[in-house]
């Protein structure tokens, strides 16, 4: 939670300094952020490669565990398809790219704003923050209404860190491994899926 607030803090300070013109405009007109994204993706790759937890969890829990991230992916995309079509003002591919953030708002918003548009980057930032907040607020209700996988699926990639405590509190400690595995798999998939989908938009 603290980390999320710091991340948001950096965004808001940036927003304020841009809006109130504290910094020269030339700062926003460089390729600097693209190179920072390149560095970020390389580092994200390193943290994935160095992490043995996915294989360990699969070995101890079998393939049933792998089903849970699929549930979240197909559930999210189905729901997004429905709202994009019903609303009429959100192109489906853009909606899916935002949804493929699965709550990992920092990474999805920077990829989308670099590769596609800053406007959609802002939507991705807000939408994926809301996903985390909804999970934090309603996890116990979700368990009661939709079963113990519900808060994990709702949490998306955040089920490995920021929403893990509320998930284990509402679904039970035995779901900690499921939540961790699910969050790690989605965290790996977010950059891949967002990049692929946004290149089709």
């Amino acid at each position: 939670m603290r980390a999320s607030l710091i991340i948001l803090g950096f965004f808001c300070v940036g927003l304020a300094s841009g809006y109130l013109e504290w910094l020269p405009e030339s700062w926003t007109r460089t390729d600097f952020s693209l190179y920072a994204l390149y560095l970020l993706m390389f580092l994200v790759g390193i943290s994935i490669g160095a992490d043995a937890r996915v294989l360990l969890a699969l070995r101890s829990h079998g393939l049933k565990l792998a089903l849970v991230p699929l549930v979240t992916i197909f559930g999210t995309f189905t729901g997004i398809l429905a709202v994009s079509m019903l609303s009429g003002n959100i192109p489906v591919t853009e909606g899916l790219a935002v949804g493929a953030g699965f709550g990992y708002y920092s990474l999805s918003s920077v990829i989308i704003s670099e590769l596609y548009s800053e406007t959609l980057g802002v939507v991705a930032l807000l939408s994926n923050i809301m996903r985390e907040v909804m999970t934090l607020l309603f996890a116990p209700l979700m368990v009661a209404a939709f079963g113990k996988l519900a808060p994990i699926a709702s949490a998306g990639a955040t089920s490995m860190d920021t929403t893990l405590p509320i998930i284990t509190a509402s679904a039970g400690k035995e779901f900690a491994i499921v939540a961790l595995f699910h969050g790690i798999v989605l965290t790996i998939l977010v950059p891949v899926l967002v990049t692929l989908i946004i290149s089709l938009a």
Binding site: L39, L40, T76, A145
Partner: protein, 94 residues
């Protein structure tokens, strides 16, 4: 797009090679959080100077809400089905 995925794959290979050196890995992972701070600061800066986006913020917030509502709603529905079908065969929730 390709260069981004390629960089990530290269990173994964490097990460695998250095997986037994936790101090180095932890140090590099600190770089992730700082590049995210930097990128979100720059995104904020660029949006703050963009009057079109600033004016659209309420609309964008509405779209964001719809999308998160759809994403969470669909996930809950599928989670419910998977729970019933594969995880909780015939048992009650208790």
């Amino acid at each position: 797009m390709l260069e981004i995925l390629a960089l990530m794959c290269a990173g994964t290979a490097v990460g695998y090679l250095i997986r037994k050196r936790p101090v180095l890995v932890r140090w590099l992972e600190k770089g992730i959080i700082w590049s995210i701070y930097l990128l979100l600061f720059l995104l904020g800066l660029s949006i703050g100077t963009n009057e079109t986006i600033m004016g659209q913020l309420p609309v964008l917030g509405g779209q964001a809400f719809l999308l998160s509502f759809g994403g969470v709603g669909g996930s809950l529905l599928f989670a419910f089905l998977a729970w019933r079908l594969f995880f909780n065969n015939g048992k009650t929730n208790q």
